[in-house]
């Protein structure tokens, strides 16, 4: 599966995503510890992979895809979908007008 990238790339990608995701030092998190322990125990970062290691690598790559996609989706959501309604002033400004200052009067 050439599309997966190397285990080392996946491992680094995961650490990067965990750093983004976590508020506190990411090395303290269960996720970080689990990933490091798993990669170390199964030596997934070596070149030749046996079947169990390939399965583990696929799982890690899938998790990386999840973390990355959620982060990107959240960023897009914040950018394009989170702003809410414009105020009347903003709407007027869109077409080059200003709202009148006095009630019922001209601007």
């Amino acid at each position: 599966m050439a599309a997966l990238g190397t285990p080392l790339q996946t491992f680094r990608g995961l650490l990067r995503e965990l750093r983004h995701a976590s508020g506190r030092p990411y090395r303290d998190t269960p996720a970080y510890q689990h990933i490091v322990a798993t990669f170390r125990a199964h030596r997934v970062t070596s070149q030749k992979l046996c079947r169990a290691q390939q399965e583990l690598h696929f799982q890690a790559a899938t998790y990386l895809c999840l973390l990355r996609s959620v982060r990107e989706h959240t960023a897009l959501h914040r950018e394009y979908h989170g702003k809410g309604e414009r105020s009347p002033e903003e709407v007027a400004g869109l077409v080059g007008f200003r709202l009148p200052q006095q009630p019922g009067g001209k601007g």
Partner: protein
């Protein structure tokens, strides 16, 4: 509500009788139906805990796909049994995205042939079935024996994993692409690309619209990744508490 304020400092996991639990400070996480949130796999619990710990000021439930999948498995809100889930999953084959072909425009038809034929061929070989593809508006006609083969195969998965499989199929609109993922034949990125082939074709032709296209792409990737990971973590015999998974 789609969001609420983050009300906890620390997220941790602990092991209870039925499996692994999530603690938000001193409170145990519960499902929407107020059941105790217990998962059969430690790795899954860690990933769920990470979702909760990743929330900043507000809890964005729509980003917490693993939590949602676990809640569905625990609460089973649609009240479906194993065979109903399996039949719903296999029924998708009749309208499987990769089997439904256009005749026009020629460029899209060609793209579908080049990108989808290989994965259909893979499924036919892997499962020893006939599937084919069709340009008919009725879609492909799938032999009953093909459906039964998939029914048998899916029956070998436990209830939790099946919830995950059915979820991925619904998201990708394809049983074949979902099996490709579950069997680790293709990556999530590839499966999503193949699922969205026509959109990608239109984007190539007419241009990308970030707030719509990328938004949908990221969301589909997230959901497909979550579903796939969920299935694999619920299927591993060495790490799974079987009692919880009994149908």
């Amino acid at each position: 509500p789609s969001e609420r304020k983050r009300f906890y400092q620390n997220v941790s996991i602990s092991q209870g009788e039925g499996g692994f639990e999530i603690n938000l400070d001193h409170r145990k996480l519960k499902t929407p139906q107020a059941k105790l949130f217990t998962v059969p796999s430690e790795a899954l619990a860690i990933a769920v805990a990470t979702e909760w710990d990743s929330q900043k000021d507000t809890i964005k439930f729509y980003t917490m796909h693993l939590t949602t999948l676990c809640n569905t498995a625990l609460d089973n809100p649609t009240q479906r049994n194993k065979m109903q889930l399996i039949r719903a999953a296999v029924k998708f084959l009749e309208t499987d995205t990769v089997c439904y072909r256009v005749e026009e425009p020629a460029a899209l038809a060609e793209l579908q042939k080049n990108e989808w034929d290989p994965v259909v061929a893979w499924a036919e070989k892997r499962y020893n079935v006939a599937i084919g593809s069709s340009t008919s508006i009725l879609g492909p006609s799938i032999p009953a024996s093909t459906k039964e083969t998939f029914v048998s195969h899916l029956a070998s998965y436990n209830m939790w994993a099946l919830q995950g499989i059915e979820y991925v199929i619904t998201q990708l609109k394809s049983l074949i692409l979902s099996m490709g993922l579950i069997d680790r034949h293709i990556t999530v990125e590839k499966a999503v690309l193949l699922s969205r082939l026509e959109e990608e074709y239109q984007i190539q032709r007419w241009g990308n619209v970030e707030w719509a296209h990328d938004y949908d792409l990221c969301e589909l990737r997230a959901r497909a990744a979550a579903g796939t990971l969920f299935v694999h973590l619920c299927s591993e015999s060495s790490t799974v508490k079987h009692k919880l998974l009994q149908d």
